[in-house]
Symmetry: C2
Subunit: 432 residues, 2 copies
Amino acid sequence: MTFSDFGNKLCGESGILQLMDDIGKPLPKGVKPYRLGGGNPAQIPEIQQMYRRRMEQILNTGDDFEKLIGFYDSPQGRVEFIETVAEFFKNKYGWNIDGKNVAVSNGSQSACFYLFNLLAGTFTENGRQIKKRILFPLAPDYIGYADQGIEKDMFVSIPSTWEEEGNNFKYHVNFELLENYLEKNFSKIGAMCVTRPTNPTGNVLTDTEVKRLSSLADRYNVPLIIDNAYGLPWPNIIFTDDASPYYGKNIILSMSLSKIGLPSLRTGIIIADAQIVKALGNLNAIAALASGSMGQAIATPLIRSGELVQKAQDFVRPYYENKAKKAVAAFHHYFEGTDYRLHKSEGSIFQWILMNNLSVTSKEFYSKLKEKGVIVVPGEYFFFGDDIEGGLPSLKDHAHYSKCLRINYAGPEDEVEQGIKIIADMYRKFSR
Amino acid sequence: MTFSDFGNKLCGESGILQLMDDIGKPLPKGVKPYRLGGGNPAQIPEIQQMYRRRMEQILNTGDDFEKLIGFYDSPQGRVEFIETVAEFFKNKYGWNIDGKNVAVSNGSQSACFYLFNLLAGTFTENGRQIKKRILFPLAPDYIGYADQGIEKDMFVSIPSTWEEEGNNFKYHVNFELLENYLEKNFSKIGAMCVTRPTNPTGNVLTDTEVKRLSSLADRYNVPLIIDNAYGLPWPNIIFTDDASPYYGKNIILSMSLSKIGLPSLRTGIIIADAQIVKALGNLNAIAALASGSMGQAIATPLIRSGELVQKAQDFVRPYYENKAKKAVAAFHHYFEGTDYRLHKSEGSIFQWILMNNLSVTSKEFYSKLKEKGVIVVPGEYFFFGDDIEGGLPSLKDHAHYSKCLRINYAGPEDEVEQGIKIIADMYRKFSR
């Protein structure tokens, strides 16, 4: 059986799917697993209890449960949830939004699929076709975007710069390259997109960087998508104080309930200009009819009362920050004496290790580690978006391209520490 | 702001979205509403109680609730659910399937979006591009498909024939036209698709018709998608005995938990060849990461024990059949003396009335009815899929094109009856 170009583009040749398949394959017999690869959030008791209480409340309040399961929400989302989210952000941050600025999707991955293909790809205007792309100002960025374009070559990325401090480093936007590129190509850019905090690196774009990106968005009238899945005010997996929530003209803010404990209820939230929200609701109607209601119904009063945000601050951030500190300490302890740099751990559930002396590619190193039971994600996959017109340096020429690993530090502490130890031991073995 | 061709194709020019907008607009002040337009299933107490008990069971069984909300399922679906569904159908009907033949999506609307665009559109093979289409053997068919093609002109439909019996009629597949068309064009057809029971008409393709379609699928090696959202063994909104569940080589069976009371939990189920299931899982990974788990978790033991199917038989079918009979009686009572035909009410939550003497189009008639508070869906929208190559008669030339309405008969009986009365009164007013 053959599939369409759409089918082959999205899922036929995807390196990511091959990787997912490989990660899912059983380990060699008798090998103990160290699961540092996946993206599942941690199980935090206080958060679980909050949702359990809320579910019991739904069951104990008249026919709330029956009304919840028995009716489709509107394609834009559950009216009460949308209004509550808008009200919350308006009150907390003074953002000038209402229900017309909030759309819900079956997870923010779906929302990004809609957004990328709505704002980029082929545009026919007055009979003339032009191609627009999504511009990622800070590569490496989220692996899950890499295959979301329906058309070919829909993404273009600016390779990051970085600053080093001892055995730590931090990526920064190469604004010189970005501004130069935008000045020449803005008419071919449909939107910019960043994750903040960044999956895979744990980087958090500074407020200064975000404002500068936002002013570029305004100057060129190109929306800036900020994927805030790990950010403020929830889930608050962010350990720096120089990172306020940001919204404004030309900003499309993507949020989620996944990383605050509800990944399986698939609730993505987009805050944006009313015209974009309307288009997202329409796309959702055609492609999915409506989004799931359960996550929205559970979260509505928790957002309204402030409990969700308070619990994020009191339990989620400390939980991850504590784990992150221990993982950072383990990295520096076990890698001591090797040539390594660890990206500053500022947020998200990941850390990013750079091994300058690696004698094999990080893809090959991933396979070696898997033989030892250690599951990680090799760095190459996060360097996507080569400029097919050749105006930008290839991501493959980034000095970190085949020298990094993404690890999920949020698992059981012993498993994470032992996993890091094995990575360090193997790095010594596979050093030039 | 301008949107891509993808955005405009899916949601920019869609008549359906305009209709949805219009249906959603408030009625004139003081006008009593008769809501016969929507697709929401009915609220059936015994079904609601089953789900409430099941939700309580999840909460009362160790950490089942926490495990349910806190982990992503695989992109193909929840392993336990997939295995249970496969086992159930294998045991009940002897189908030769296992877990590799079952995929889950965020509702069957999403599954169809994936399937249509996977099996039709542009195919590039050996550098040569060909266009394939989805063929609907029995138009009119489901309005929700009409805009799901990412590319233009992806659908082609065979206008139905019909047989009349007094004031009733039933659509049939025009096999002569279909076979003739397929013989010439099979290489340009990616799949065939039918809803059974049919939304909007309440038709149920006979076993003979399905077998004949299936043998065409085999002859031309073109998959046949059977959308079984209203069918057997659940939700069992099907009132004829000549309609067995059907699966086999080249069949893609689409099912759902929506019409058995869980529309808001967005659970679509595809049973198909392993290669198609694998592709659907991959598409879901890229476009949505994973599907929601709640519907799957609630339904798993209910499917395994047979309770879901038993309750469908004991409560869902009788509930709708009783309502359907009353609505049919109301139609014949209030339309008496006019030139009308009612489609045989064999299944689904809809009935389809043909008014041969209508002096305005059914779109115009819809507006007149809305002024009186009666919300229905005009028939034109279900006649989509004109053959752009001109080999088939235009759907617009179907004798029923602008003379039918779809009504949802499942609402409160008084509201349905009074709504039908108003439609009949208005038909008398707008007769030639």
